[in-house]
């Protein structure tokens, strides 16, 4: 199984996904969000702006890279290992229909690679391909994922967590109120998009998650 150097440092337990509404030339709310991260709470931040041209994604990634993030934080982009390398990001998050980590580790051995998974089969493939973490969801009902059907639920989350030795993040409708249930099923951390959108409450939400996930 391929290994990468970066996986030896512990991954943050909070995984924040960008809005998908960033504009060209790095205009949007992502940089404001990054500036507001509490300095003692490490986060994974995934730049997931699939509508952007590659050039604009690179511009945004370079801008994000300039922000001083909490120690231990990791900055990832969606799918594009070329952009991650060009911008000096820490890694890449791979949707289920993307290239698998082993193909990318061949030319990007120092990047962290995580995979979205929706089934035990996908979990197995991602694990064997050298993924550093897995992302599973939607666990609970969430407006942004309703078009993909019913939530997958805590039971399935628990089954997947027990089937893998990799860190698994729960995504989809996870709140400080239900995060403990995810922990009980064996998740490593939680991921979210909508819950972090409101900048006036972001720091408080992060604090709540942090105290639940780092008891």
């Amino acid at each position: 199984m391929p290994h990468n150097n970066r996986s030896r440092t512990p991954l943050p337990r909070i995984f924040m996904i960008s809005s998908g509404e960033e504009q060209t030339e790095g205009r949007g709310e992502l940089i404001d969000h990054l500036d507001l991260l509490p300095s003692h709470i490490p986060c994974i931040v995934q730049i997931r702006e699939k509508h952007l041209h590659t050039k604009d994604l690179l511009t945004l990634a370079l801008k994000a890279r300039e922000v001083r993030l909490p120690t231990g934080s990791l900055l990832l982009c969606n799918e594009r290992a070329d952009v991650a390398l060009a911008a000096g990001l820490d890694g890449v998050h791979l949707p289920e229909n993307a290239l698998l980590p082993d193909k990318l580790l061949a030319f990007a051995p120092l990047l962290i690679f995580g995979c979205s998974i929706h089934s035990p089969e996908a979990l197995c493939i991602a694990e064997q391909s050298g993924a550093d973490y897995l992302l599973f969801g939607p666990v609970f009902d969430t407006p942004s994922k309703r078009k993909y059907g019913a939530p997958q639920g805590l039971k399935k989350l628990g089954e997947l967590c027990r089937a893998s030795s990799l860190p698994i993040y729960a995504l989809g409708g996870v709140t400080p109120q239900n995060a403990a249930h995810c922990m009980d099923e064996g998740v490593y951390g939680i991921a979210g998009l909508s819950i972090f959108r409101d900048t006036s409450r972001m720091a408080e939400t992060l604090e709540q998650f942090y105290s639940i996930l780092n008891p």
């Binding site: 590659t54 050039k55 070329d82 952009v83 290239l99 193909k103």
Partner: protein
């Protein structure tokens, strides 16, 4: 590196299987295949890329991928073709090294000059003629502008956009090293014959 002039580059058409089209084009003598698909998933692109790369090896042609430097590296393609909205050539060069080919689209002399400075290996110049393959923001550049660009830079220039068997030879006379087509091959009744017919008129135009 770049095929000897005059050559035909065939760009895949999203309406058809890119592997089948590439094979037809290669049978007809295309010296360069560009895989271009803006909506396919990464794993789908990679699968196509490996298949087309193998075909290109068999036919001693070059295999180029549009935009996706990551897929090019993973599939060991010969290079990439970058539009003005893709990764800048200089950034791509750092990832690809000097042995891989970088083509850059230019729709003006200024863009062509910049691409040369950024380390491109060839310029895709166009669109030279009116085209339905893509919605265009500017008027066709025409053979005259192509010639001006060829004379102003030292890189090989590949003409693109609205090229047919009838209007291709003049572009070679104006100094293009090759022509790139989509529909002239993909939409032909017999794509492989269409490719070989274009190549023979290109060769006649330099004799």
């Amino acid at each position: 590196m770049i095929p000897s002039s005059p050559f035909l580059c065939v760009i895949t058409d999203e309406a058809y299987c890119p592997v089948t089209l590439a094979e037809e084009a290669l049978k007809g003598g295309a010296a360069m295949i560009q895989l271009r698909h803006k909506t396919a998933s990464g794993s789908q692109l990679f699968t196509w890329a490996v298949a087309i790369r193998n075909l290109c090896c068999e036919y001693h042609a070059l295999f180029i991928i549009n935009d996706r430097v990551d897929i090019a590296l993973a599939s060991e393609a010969d290079g990439v073709h970058l539009g003005q909205d893709d990764l800048p050539a200089a950034a791509a060069r750092k990832l690809l090294g000097n042995s891989r080919i970088i083509g850059v689209s230019a729709s003006s002399l200024e863009e062509a000059v910049q691409a040369e400075k950024d380390g491109a290996d060839y310029i895709g110049f166009g669109h030279v003629y009116p085209t339905v393959s893509k919605l265009k923001e500017h008027a066709p550049l025409g053979p005259k502008n192509l010639q001006k660009t060829v004379k102003s830079i030292s890189l090989p220039v590949v003409a693109i956009g609205g090229i047919t068997i009838e209007n291709a030879p003049i572009l070679i006379s104006m100094g293009a090293s090759g022509v790139a087509v989509i529909s002239a091959v993909s939409r032909a009744e017999n794509p492989s014959k269409a490719a070989s017919d274009i190549i023979s008129v290109l060769q006649k135009s330099v004799q």
